[in-house]
Symmetry: C2
Subunit: 298 residues, 2 copies
């Protein structure tokens, strides 16, 4: 019989992932701060629960998809947390993007109650979550990884067991560096080319056919040109992620000069009220520097 | 009858492109500073010539594939240059990466002798040049573009007429921003992940399946991990290209903070004798900052 899975957090990523688990035949128990969202899933046959410990008590596996380290900590080991619903063979899969160091601590704390934990952050954005084509990077015990593989296979197409607890989060940190810097690259290119008089659609077309081709540009380039910054991945979340990246770099003695600058750009975008825009709105930072919007004819 | 094409410059890009033109049935006249290279093509049925004006006199179309603006200037309008071999319907296609501003001047100067010019820089690296899958961005008169289309089709798969003379070079500048910043992104990610204890091959695998996927990582990620920096595109050339990018940005009033930093990294790599390595050797700059090589186990 397939596992009963608890999902805590039904946001931009969690909601489509929950749908894919239902489609794959898993029984779900959902928990989210807005009841209208859980009601949608109850109408599709899922159960809902209010307290994380109740979700845990009802499930074989609990998946958390939450905004940051402190929320994951609270949900897993805080009052009424998952840890209080511990039972034989319970597995926690944290698919949030949080600190690798916090992940280490949480996994150790849960292990004291015989709860196995995997860190399994994802990449691929809302588009990948909807299509079930996420890239999933998993840290933790290999046997637990193997036991949970059918769950991952319902959600993604690239599923890699990286190593010990926290290693999934380290790879996610690497991923967030690359995605942020690629958006920066596209932004600098589009502003230069457009202000120099070239149709930005032609820039996307040519760059997409050569060495500069990349998935972020393919998915987001056309919406960047239209200044459509509906998320997708929010600036506030990616800024939080780069905080984790830089904290991890500090811990391991690594210097990341460009990531540090793009982190500061995200900080400025948040400060100016753009935190809820898609991370591709990094474009607007570069536009502001040039006092230019790429829709204009130069 | 297909055109007779002159090719001036048979380097990493020019040589495989000349082979593809031969395969497509064009007659070639080749010119290069090393005779052993031109001899190879003579053995395959091409003619060779020493002076650019002689190449021009023998051909319908002259293609230049040269290292920088000053060499292109010298070959086209210098003593014994292409301009001295001017004849009815001669077309010059400059496929080098040079300054859009210099391109403008050259096109105007050639037009005085009734020579039409296209700027048609390419992207896709030596791999794309060999496979005939280059991305080609073309500036200049539309009728001349159409006349030369069969030539471009022998060399690439993405062929876009951008606009007036120089606009191809502007898009190439955009391309070089994106490629440089993507190598920087991969470098920062690989050094962080590896020094934090993760197998860099797993980083490439996961990132390649998600939002961070990009062609430069696909082609060069595995060789970066092995510290195989055989070019491909040289640091010295890409550094020159970023000089063009920053000059163009200065002309049009655009601020490119991250491109400016990566340009300085290339400057330092050149200063330390790494100019002839592939541009993916940006990795070694980030490794140096962390006093770490990604082959090591941390």
């Amino acid at each position: 019989m397939p596992d009963t899975i608890g999902i805590i957090g039904l946001g931009i990523m969690g909601k489509p992932m929950a749908h894919n688990l239902l489609k794959a035949g898993f029984s779900l128990v959902v928990q989210h701060r807005h009841q209208n969202i859980t009601d949608e899933f109850v109408a599709l046959g899922a159960q809902s629960a209010i307290l994380p410990r109740d979700v845990a008590a009802l499930c074989d596996v609990v998946i958390t998809l939450l905004p940051d380290s402190s929320v994951v900590e609270e949900i897993l080991i805080g009052p009424n947390g998952v840890i209080e619903g511990a039972h034989k063979d319970l597995v926690v899969i944290d698919m949030s993007t949080i600190s690798p160091l916090v992940t280490h601590t949480l996994a150790a704390r849960l292990a004291e109650q015989n709860i196995a934990m995997l860190d399994a952050p994802v990449s691929g954005g809302d588009v990948g979550a909807i299509a079930g084509t996420l890239s999933i990077m998993v840290g933790g015990d290999e046997a637990t990884f193997t036991r949970c593989l059918p769950i991952f296979q319902a959600l993604g197409t690239t599923i890699v067991h990286i190593g010990e607890n926290g290693s999934g989060q380290i790879v996610k940190a690497c991923n967030q560096i690359v995605v942020a810097l690629i958006f920066e690259a596209i932004s600098e290119a589009l502003v230069l080319g457009s202000k120099a008089g070239v149709d930005p659609n032609k820039i996307l077309k040519v760059l997409g056919g050569g060495m500069a081709a990349n998935r972020a540009m393919e998915l987001r380039g056309p919406t960047m040109i239209k200044h459509n910054f509906t998320p997708g991945g929010r600036i506030s979340i990616h800024h939080k992620d780069l905080g984790i990246v830089l904290e991890t770099a500090r811990t391991y003695g690594v210097s990341l000069p460009v990531t540090a600058i793009v982190d500061q750009m995200f900080a400025s975008l948040e400060a100016s009220g753009r935190g809820n825009l898609d991370h591709s709105a990094l474009l607007t930072y570069i536009e502001d520097l040039a006092s230019y919007h790429i829709g204009e004819i130069s």
